[in-house]
């Protein structure tokens, strides 16, 4: 089934859906412009706008459900910037965008609430909430815009918010560097997206999703592929996919709620949104661009998982896992209509269980004096029972423990990948096995085993304002997957936005791939138990084999970037500086020095002796008269 037509809408809650973006934007504006005067209530205002936006989102969702499925793609016109040249700006309310809206505002609100407790002792808490609100507004604009330019504005907005929040503790040089790195790597991807939008405009003479959908038939295959690959480059940057993955691990320098909201649940999934949104036109099944998406997805899901196995920093291990899970989503999004629903369903459940685990990690760090090294944790399950229980639910959900969220959504991706291409499917199964290992390692090192705490650590359970979001997120991690996947409920819901595959998949609890996945995950978990649960964990990391070093160094991603781009870039800069100093400056300075030197000699003529002036006047007059005679006699 093809996606439904986009129709114009007015009235009702959908008519004022701009409130979704305006509310958090207003919050950010008040908190940033109000300055220190808003310090006292800043965090409450930040939470209020996020929650209000969530309420509007729910109302919009309910009104959308009231329509016939074929009429569930509504565009709300907002403003016509340059009539006749650029498409008017509008908001696209359809099942895909509303799914994102609910995830962003729902999980976003919980993380806002959690941050009240987590940032309680930070003098800049108000600024933190301002940036969080800014992020929510930009992210909502990204998913709600009905054209590529609006999407691009939101895309840059979340990039800015991400930069500001990674570098929130900018007094730490590592945080400032990580923020710059994230910004620069994202710039590469954004460059691709910008060029893609330029080509879309020249090819279709429109940038709106509706316009591209209706006028797509007469575009050449070459430009479609070019647009697809450039959009993929943009998606790789924002979603930390190979080869632009290097920024995500460093981005963990930001406060943990930021890692949960931006670098796990929402912003990094923008690439998946972009591919899904543009899927029908630029990533049709079997096209070069779609194949590239699946390859990027599989490569990243393996790379992220391998990185996750060796990290001792709890947040970096989770970041590797995020990369890997987004790789799964990319893989599914590249498959086509059979995969879109699984990609978005996994994105939503991942948003819940990964945010749950990041916030859990934040709770642990909060208790352990901001220690992030898992080798200095151990045995925390007794002192932090709620954090432990919610983390365990997130953990079981991500490794695909039967009947929890991740089980259904990841299995859906693996099954549809199997059907699409067996090699990709088996690689995804392998990735799931590695997931079982590294997540178990993380849990065993943190919550089980002997205490390896620093002497001054006195862990305690976090306050209720931090544990309640954990409980709600873990509840979502339990039930959401089954609810969305069973009976193809989510697939039929999304169908008006992304279309349906020719034959609907059905869920088999005992398929071959599913059983092999479970066996591999169990094997990975068992291996982790013997190595890290039952055995001793040394407090200082052992040197390990070259494979361990390979994973610890992020598969030498930074080294490759350095050798391929940074060093040649520096040479180029030095060359340019040399040319500028010696070539351009030499020419200009030489000319100036020449004129100066000549003048210095010439001014010696001004001796101050009147008689010599008189002589020169006399000689000059004689020459003039002589010349006059000569010319007169010719």
């Amino acid at each position: 089934m093809e996606p439904a037509k986009i129709i114009e809408h007015a009235g009702g809650v959908i008519g004022v859906s701009w409130l979704l973006i305006a509310l958090p934007l207003l919050g950010a504006a008040v908190l940033l412009l109000g300055g220190r005067r808003t310090d006292r209530f800043g965090h409450l205002l930040g939470v209020a706008t996020a929650v209000a936006s969530f309420v509007v989102g729910v109302l919009v969702f309910l009104q959308l459900l009231g329509f016939d499925p074929a009429e569930r793609r509504r565009v709300v016109p907002l403003y016509d910037f340059i009539p006749g040249l650029v498409d008017p700006m509008g908001l696209l309310i359809d099942p895909l965008s509303i799914s994102f809206v609910l995830l962003i505002t729902g999980v976003g609100s919980l993380i806002h609430i959690y941050s009240i407790g987590y940032m309680a002792h930070d003098p800049n808490r108000r600024r933190f909430f301002a940036y969080l609100n800014l992020f929510v507004a930009a992210m909502l604009l990204l998913v709600l815009a009905d054209n590529y330019i609006g999407l691009y504005v939101g895309w840059e907005g979340v990039g800015l918010a991400s930069y500001l929040l990674i570098g929130f503790w900018q007094h730490k040089p590592s945080a400032a560097t990580a923020a710059k790195k994230a910004f620069i790597v994202n710039r590469v991807g954004d460059f691709g997206l910008a060029i893609a939008i330029f080509i879309i405009f020249t090819t279709f003479n429109t940038v709106s999703f509706a316009g591209v959908m209706t006028s797509g038939a007469d575009a050449s295959q070459g430009s479609l592929t070019a647009i697809g690959l450039l959009l993929l480059l943009g998606a790789c940057g924002k979603s930390a996919q190979l080869p632009l993955q290097s920024w995500l691990l460093d981005a963990m320098e930001g406060p943990t709620p930021v890692s949960a909201l931006i670098h796990a649940a929402t912003m990094v999934t923008a690439g998946v949104y972009l591919v899904t949104r543009s899927g029908a036109m630029f990533f049709p099944e079997g096209s070069t661009a779609a194949i590239a998406v699946t390859i990027v997805g599989v490569a990243t899901l393996l790379a992220g998982a391998i990185i996750g196995t060796a990290k001792d920093d709890i947040k970096k291990a989770l970041a590797g896992s995020t990369m890997s899970q987004i790789g799964y989503m990319m893989l599914a999004a590249g498959i086509g209509p059979a995969g879109y629903a699984f990609a978005i369903a996994h994105l939503i459940t991942h948003g819940f269980f990964k945010a749950d685990m990041f916030l859990g990690a934040g709770s642990v760090m909060h208790a352990m004096n901001d220690e992030v090294d898992m080798r200095k944790y151990g045995g925390l399950r007794k002192v932090m029972p709620i954090t432990f229980a919610t983390f365990m639910i997130g953990y079981l959900a991500i490794i695909g423990f039967p009947l929890l969220s991740g089980y259904f959504t990841k299995d859906g991706i693996i099954e549809s990948a199997m059907e699409h291409n067996a090699t990709l499917g088996w690689l995804a199964v392998l990735g799931a096995g590695i997931t079982g290992f590294y997540m178990s390692r993380l849990v065993f090192m943190t919550f089980f085993g002997k205490k390896r705490w620093e002497a001054d650590a006195h862990p305690h359970e976090s306050p209720a304002v931090m544990t309640w979001p954990l409980i709600i997120l873990s509840a979502g991690s339990i039930v959401l997957g089954g609810y969305l996947i069973l009976g193809n409920r989510f697939m039929t819901f999304l169908a008006p936005a992304v279309g349906l595959p020719e034959h609907l998949p059905s869920f088999h609890p005992f398929s071959v791939a599913g059983l092999v996945t479970l066996a591999l995950v169990a094997a990975g978990a068992a291996l982790a138990w013997f190595k890290y649960g039952a055995g001793e964990v040394p407090v200082t990391a052992p040197r390990g084999s070259f494979l361990t070093t390979f994973a610890r160094r992020d598969l030498y991603g930074d080294a490759i970037n350095e050798a391929l781009f940074m060093r040649p870039g520096q040479w180029l800069t030095r060359l340019a500086v040399f040319f500028d100093n010696r070539g351009i400056d030499g020419l200009v300075n030489g000319l100036a020095a020449g004129i100066g030197g000549t003048s210095g000699r010439l001014r010696r003529v001004q001796t101050g002796f009147v008689r010599s002036y008189a002589l020169s006047i006399f000689v000059g007059a004689a020459i003039l008269v002589g010349a006059w005679f000569v010319v007169g006699n010719l």
Binding site: V605, T607, F609, V610, R611, F618
Partner: protein
């Protein structure tokens, strides 16, 4: 006849010019300038007489007026310089230079 007057005029002009170039005393230089001016006047008057019109004589009058005005200002400057520097040598007045 005209030739004699013109030769005299040229001689006077050359004497004046050489005086301006070689003498150091400002008063003498000044007098040499006057000599050159009057050599010119002589030439003008000679041509006026030869051509039978008054143009040259009128110009000679203008030159005299200008010379008179110049003498007033020039002598004042020379006197002032002499008062401050105790010297009327044109070579001593050489502050305005490179």
């Amino acid at each position: 006849m005209t030739t004699h007057y013109l030769v005299l005029s040229a001689l006077l002009f050359v004497i004046g010019g050489v005086g301006v170039l070689v003498r150091r005393n400002a008063i003498v230089v000044f007098m040499c300038v006057e000599l050159m001016l009057n050599a010119c006047n002589l030439a003008f008057v000679t041509f006026a007489r030869q051509n039978g019109n008054l143009d040259g004589q009128i110009i000679a009058f203008f030159v005299m007026i200008v010379a008179a005005a110049e003498v007033v200002i020039g002598l004042a400057i020379i006197v002032t310089i002499f008062r401050t520097r105790r010297s009327a040598s044109v070579d001593d007045v050489n502050l305005l230079k490179y």
